[in-house]
Amino acid sequence: MELFLYTALFSPLVGSLFAALFGASPKTKIAGIVPSALLGVSLISSTILLILVFTTGHTLHVEMMTWMATGDLYIPFGFVVDQVSVVMMMVVTLVSTVVHVYAVGYMDHDKGFNRFFSYLSAFVFSMMILVMSDNFAGLFIGWEGVGLCSWLLIGFWYHKESASWAANEAFIMNRIADLGMLIGIFLVYWNTGTLQYDGAFAAMPSLDTATLTWIGIFLFIGAMGKSAQFPLHTWLADAMEGPTPVSALIHAATMVTAGVYLVVRSSPLYELIPNVGLFIASLGAFVALFAASMALVNRDMKRVIAYSTLSQLGYMFAAAGLGAYWVALFHLMAHAFFKALLFLGAGNVMHAMHDELDPFKMGGLGKVMKGTFVMMTVASVALAGIFPLAGFFSKDLILEVAFVNHHYVIYAVLLFTAALTAFYSFRLVALIFHGEERYKLFGIHPHEAYKFMLVAMSPLLLLAVIAGAFKAGYFDMVTQLLPDTEYHVHSAATYWIMTIGTQLLVGFAIFYAYKKYTRRDIKVPDGTSKMENSFAYKLLINQYYIPYFYEEYIVKAYRELSEIFWTKIDQKIVDGTVDGIANILYKTGNTTRVMQSGNLSTMLKWMVAGTVALLSLAVVFGLAARYSGEIKSILSGLGV
C-alpha cells in the first residue's frame, strides 16, 4: 500500500522535473503529455487508496525520513492517508488531471508551454504534500510550496506588468497570513511538545482555553490568507491575470480550499473552542455576501467566477465554523468540480473571443459553442444549488446546519447570498450565450474549442451532476475521523418548507437574471447609464475601494517610509554619526594646528597659559586635599 502512497505523492514531482528539462527549449508536445500521464497515474493510485480507506476503513501512516531534529523538536517527513486526506487527494488529483489535459490544448500556441507544465505539476506536488503531511511543519512546506507555485503561475506571462504585479501581490499577501500560521505552529509546539497531528491534538484538551483560543486564531489567520478571506482577499481577483487553467486549478479547486482543509484537519482543536468557530462562521457568512455583491456588477468574466469562488469559500468556512466539518469538506469537493468546470468553460469562451473578457461584448455564443454552452449552464445550475445536482446537496446542507444551530442571522445571510449567486452566475451565462450576437460588432468570429478539451471537461460535468449521490457513503467514511453530528430539522414540515422555499427563491433569481440579460437592446455600458453612476454601483465596481485603500495607505506608505528610512535615517543619522566622529577628530586636529603657528610669542603665550592652567589645577587639588573632610560633609548634606 505504501507504494501507492508514494506514487500518488511523487508522480507530479517527476512530471514537473521532466517538463523542467525542456524549460528553455520551444514547445514540445512531450513536455505536456508526460506530466498529464503521470498525473493520471497519481489519480489512479489515489482512487485505489480511496477504495482501500472506504472499504477497510484503516488508514496509512508512513514516515519517510527525519527532517529536523534539534533539542526536544522532532519533525519527520511523515505522510498519512486517512479519510479526510484521501478525499482531498481525490479532489486534487482529479481536477488537476482534467486541467492538465485541458491545458495541453489551451496552451499550445504559447511559447512557454513546457515551463507552464513544470510549474503546474510542481503545484500539484506541493498541494499533495500539504494534504498528505502528518504534521504541521509538513503542512507548512506544502503551504509555502503552493504559494510559490501560484506566484510562478500568476506571473507566467511575466512580460505583462499587471501579471507580475499580481503575482507579487499574491505572494506577499499569502506571506502575511503565513506569519500567523508560523506563530500558530510555534504555539502548538511549545504547548504540546510536538508538531505531529495525533500527538498535538491528543495533548490539546489538557491545555487552558486561552492558549487554545490563541492557537485557533493564529491557525485561522493562516487559513484566511490562503483562502483569501476578508482582509486578505484582494489578491484572488488580481490572480486572474494568470492563464485560465491556472485559475481553474489553483484559484477554484485546490489552493484556495487549503484554508478550509486546515480548519477541517484541526477539527479536534476547533471543537474545544466553539466561540472561535462562531467567529469563523460569521466571517465566512460576511465574506460570502461581500464577494457575491461584488460579483453582481463586475464586467470581467473570470473575476465574476473568482468572486463566486470567494463567496463559496465563505460558505465552507461558515459550515466549518459551526462545527459541521464533514459538510464543509463535502461542499469543498462538490464546489471544486463545478467551479473548475465553469473556469474551463470560461477558458474556452476566452479563446474563442481572442482573450476578450467583457461578457457585454459577447452574446449568442450558444449557437456557435454548443458544448461549452451546455457545460457552463450545468455548472451554473449546480452552483446555484438546484435540486438533483451537487450544489443542492452541499450548499443547502450548510443552510440546514445554520438553521439547526439556531444561528438565524447567518442562515438569513447565506440564503440571501444563495439568491445572489444564482443571479450573477446566470447573468454571466445569459450575457455570454443568449441574446443578440454583440461580438459581430467587434469583428470576432468565435469557434468551438478542440474536441479533446471538451472530452477532458466531461468528467467534471459528470461529477457536477452526480456528486450529490456520494453523500451517504462519503458521510460514513469521513465521520470516522470528523465529529459526526447529524443535522435534521426536528419537524419534517419546516424541513420541506425550507428546501422548497430555497429552490423557489433560486429559481426566481435565475428567471429574473435571464429576463434581464437576454433582452435584444443590451449594449456595452459606457459609463453613461443611470445605474452606473449610482453610488452602490460605483462602490461595488471598485470592490468597496479596498484595493485603492491598500494601495494608497499601505503600499505607498510602506514605500515612502522605507525611502525615508534609507535617505534620512540610514545615511544622515546612523552613517552621519560615524562620519561625524571621524570629522570631529579631523576638525580638532585642524583647530589645534593654530597653536604651532611658528610665531614665537604666540607659542610662548600658549606655554604660559598651559603653566597657569597646571598651577591652578595644583591649587585646586591642593585645597581639595587639605579640606577634603569639610567638602565631604557639605556634599553628603546635599544628598549626593
Partner: protein, 101 residues
C-alpha cells in the same frame, strides 16, 4: 621685622613675572634674551634664599650651574642671532615663522 624665606620667594616671583611679561611682549629677539636673563636671575635668588634659610649649600650649587648655563646659552644664542641677522638683516620675531606646524 624679620625677613623670612617668604619674602625672598615673593620677590623672585615678582621678578619672574616681570621676566614673563618681557618674554611675551618683546618682538625683538635680543630684548627677548634680556627677559630670559631676568627669569634665570629670579630663579637664582630663590635658590640662594632657600639654601640660606635651610642651611644647605645645594641651593647655591644649583645657582652656580644656572649661571654657567645662562652664560653658554647667551653665547650660542647671540651667535645664532648674528647669523640670522646676516641673512635677514632684521631680528624681528614675526617673520621668523619657518617652523610652522
Amino acid at each position: 621685622m624679620e625677613i623670612g624665606l617668604n619674602h625672598y620667594l615673593v620677590l623672585s616671583t615678582i621678578l619672574f613675572a616681570i621676566g614673563l611679561v618681557g618674554v611675551m611682549r618683546r618682538k625683538n629677539l635680543l630684548m627677548l634674551f634680556f627677559a630670559t636673563e631676568i627669569l634665570l636671575n629670579s630663579v637664582n635668588i630663590s635658590f640662594a634664599a632657600i639654601s640660606h634659610y635651610y642651611g644647605d649649600l645645594t641651593g647655591q650649587m644649583f645657582a652656580f650651574f644656572v649661571i654657567a648655563i645662562a652664560a653658554s646659552e647667551v653665547a650660542v644664542g647671540l651667535g645664532l642671532l648674528i647669523v640670522w641677522h646676516k641673512k635677514h638683516n632684521n631680528i624681528d620675531l614675526d617673520n621668523m615663522s619657518s617652523m610652522r606646524g
